[in-house]
């Protein structure tokens, strides 16, 4: 009888721990809840980040629009996650790409980047801003973007970045709790984390 009681208790404890593990939010990686970065979106509206998104879980990518290979994959991954979450009926999530190339990524350029991909910038926000503010935001999110090769084409100088490849998930309070490699993120894992965090 005693053995049965021990077995039942152990099973109960293990089950409780398992359920806690499944439902609890991942640890905070970067706390932006007390920060206020004044940015501008692709529709030229001022955005206070992350304050304006308080109460919503934010799926956040870091990109520059002149990137031909990695950053479009990050944007595409977020867009696919957005479509999947909408299928699940989730309306408490905001999807955001922040540019680390504010010199070139004006609101108009961001708008064009979204338009050619059929992305509605009211639903998937693209943010840029003052260089100093962007730099501070990148530092707080541990994102690196170092200008690399420069190419001159018909008098136009084009440069590329060596940069962090990242998608982050920020909770409704402004705390980043999950990070993925943006271009190759496992969307199933990402969606699982979003559902734990929201």
């Amino acid at each position: 009888m005693k053995k049965i009681k021990i077995a039942v208790s152990s099973t109960f404890i293990l089950l409780t721990l398992f359920l806690i593990g499944c439902s609890s939010k991942p640890d905070v990686i970067h706390d932006l809840s007390r920060k206020d970065y004044t940015l501008i979106d692709a529709d030229s509206s001022i955005v206070h980040f992350p304050g304006d998104f308080k109460g919503k879980t934010v799926v956040l990518g870091f990109i520059y629009t002149h990137c031909p290979d990695i950053c479009p994959m990050t944007t595409h991954n977020i867009n696919l996650v957005k479509k999947e979450m909408e299928k699940q009926g989730a309306d408490d999530i905001t999807y955001v790409d922040i540019s680390f190339d504010p010199d070139r990524d004006s609101p108009e350029v961001l708008k064009k980047y979204a338009d050619v991909r059929g992305i509605n910038t009211k639903e998937f926000r693209f943010l840029t801003g003052n260089k100093k503010i962007i730099k501070s935001l990148l530092k707080d999110c541990n994102i690196y973007a170092i200008p690399g090769d420069t190419t001159v084409t018909d008098g136009d100088t084009s440069y590329f970045f060596i940069h962090t490849d990242r998608i982050s998930v920020m909770d409704p309070e402004g705390k980043i709790r999950a990070e993925y490699k943006g271009s190759t993120a496992n969307r199933t894992e990402l969606i699982k984390d979003i559902n734990r965090i929201r």
Partner: protein
């Protein structure tokens, strides 16, 4: 029957010498922006070849690049020539080799297409018409 066998063997012989470029596609991008062109090179020839350059009228500059990882970050660098072994397939794909299409002369929208000429050391020029798309969309 004998003639038929000869014909089949001749057909196989001619196919074995071919280098083909397949499954080309380009990401959408706006005028003045950059994009990438991806494809597969199937080299069924008996000897190796080398991709020396890619040209296109859709952009002001076209270069062959590879994406690399350094200190946990991602970057790109130009590659001047890319060898293609005999009897092998080399894929230009996201996150690897790609053709960097810089400073587009006009928008490349979904559903449109763009023409590229790949210049190989042995096979010469191969022209590819690539659709503008986002795979998985």
């Amino acid at each position: 029957m004998y003639i038929l066998m000869i014909l089949i063997s001749l057909l196989n012989f001619s196919q074995s010498g071919k280098l083909e470029v397949k499954d080309g596609w380009v990401r959408p991008a706006g005028k003045g922006m950059n994009t990438a062109f991806y494809f597969k090179i199937e080299n069924n020839a008996d000897k190796a070849d080398t991709l020396l350059s890619v040209k296109s009228g859709v952009a002001k500059m076209v270069q062959m690049h590879e994406t690399f990882k350094k200190d946990g970050m991602m970057g790109m660098r130009e590659i001047k020539a890319i060898p293609v072994n005999s009897k092998s397939t080399l894929e230009f794909k996201p996150g690897g080799y790609h053709v960097m299409v810089m400073n587009l002369k006009a928008d490349l929208k979904m559903g449109a297409s763009a023409e590229f000429v790949l210049h190989f050391k042995n096979a010469g020029d191969v022209t590819v018409k690539a659709p503008v798309k986002i795979p998985g969309d």
